[in-house]
């Protein structure tokens, strides 16, 4: 009888282990599954200008102006009208134009995008991407209420 008891109790102990291990595995798998819910997301980091910069009354004259209209056409500055409004002329090929601009002014010189207010966001992002890929480091943007003033070749 003594032998039987021993065997029985030993067998019971061994059987009790496996559901415990099952539970632990279940926990492990559950944690694995839930940890995948957190996904990476893609963002464009934005550096906003120091708020005190907008208190300056003088416009910064060192920036080169590029215009973007509602249809996604790109313009470069081509002088000023008699009352001080910047005039723009169309750019045929933005990449070529930018590489010439960088060769002339360097990549760290600021560029300011003048965007018509109804321009779709995607159009602006595309232009900013191109500017970034060409190596321009400082790009600002602002809204133009109304149409971009076309220069003499309009």
């Amino acid at each position: 009888m003594r032998i039987q008891r021993k065997r029985n109790s030993a067998a019971e102990e061994a059987v009790m282990m496996s559901p415990l291990i099952d539970c632990v595995f279940l926990l492990l798998i559950f944690f694995l599954a839930t940890s995948q819910i957190k996904r990476w997301e893609r963002q464009i980091p934005v550096t906003l200008a120091d708020p005190s910069a907008s208190l300056s009354l003088e416009s910064r004259s060192d920036a080169y102006y590029l215009g973007v209209d509602e249809a996604g056409n790109i313009y470069h500055e081509s002088g000023k009208s008699s009352n001080g409004v910047t005039l723009f002329s169309p750019v045929e090929n933005l990449e070529v134009f930018l590489s010439e601009l960088i060769a002339e002014r360097g990549g760290s010189a600021p560029v300011e995008l003048v965007v018509e207010k109804e321009t779709p966001f995607q159009t602006v992002i595309d232009v900013l991407d191109t500017l970034q890929h060409q190596g321009l480091q400082e790009v600002r943007s602002r809204i133009r209420h109304g149409k971009i003033s076309r220069g003499d070749d309009a």
């Binding site: 415990l20 539970c23 926990l27 893609r42 464009i44 934005v46 965007v115 779709p120 966001f121 602002r142």
Partner: protein
């Protein structure tokens, strides 16, 4: 040697960690189902861009949004621009370095995008990112 029958006691002791584990599971599932996150994504298609960085979402992150009609959203709830300004100011007073994610539709007129970015700038938020499209958005 009859004392050996105490081994049947130890076999019963094995039950309690098992029950513990099952209770733990039960409680975990209860808590996990109750902690359903508030939905902060709005029904938009973000713009595509090739100059993005991959970031891990942050539960404490502030989510501002604007759809293509120019309606503004705070954490997924539609608000007016004044309300947005008011709430953003309160957040900025507390912690201007809090992460801010800005969701805008790819067809949103740029003027609405600038309105929100201007507000963030005016309130001195320093950690701003524009969300862009990836295949898993809203899924």
């Amino acid at each position: 040697m009859r004392i050996r029958s105490a081994s049947s006691d130890t076999a019963e002791v094995m039950m309690s960690p098992l029950i513990d584990a099952v209770f733990l599971l039960l409680i975990f599932f209860l808590v996990a189902t109750m902690l359903k996150k508030e939905k902060r994504d709005i029904d938009i298609i973000p713009p595509e861009s090739s100059s993005t960085v991959k970031l891990l979402p942050d539960d404490d992150m502030l989510v501002l949004g604007v759809n293509r009609e120019g309606d503004f959203f705070w954490q997924g709830v539609e608000v007016t621009l004044e309300e947005l300004h008011h709430r953003l100011r309160e957040v900025a007073i507390e912690n201007p370095h809090r992460r801010l994610r800005f969701d805008a539709d790819f067809m949103t007129p740029y003027v609405h995008v600038v309105k929100v970015l201007d507000l963030a700038q005016f309130n001195g938020m320093t950690n701003v990112g524009i969300r862009t499209y990836d295949a898993k958005y809203n899924r």
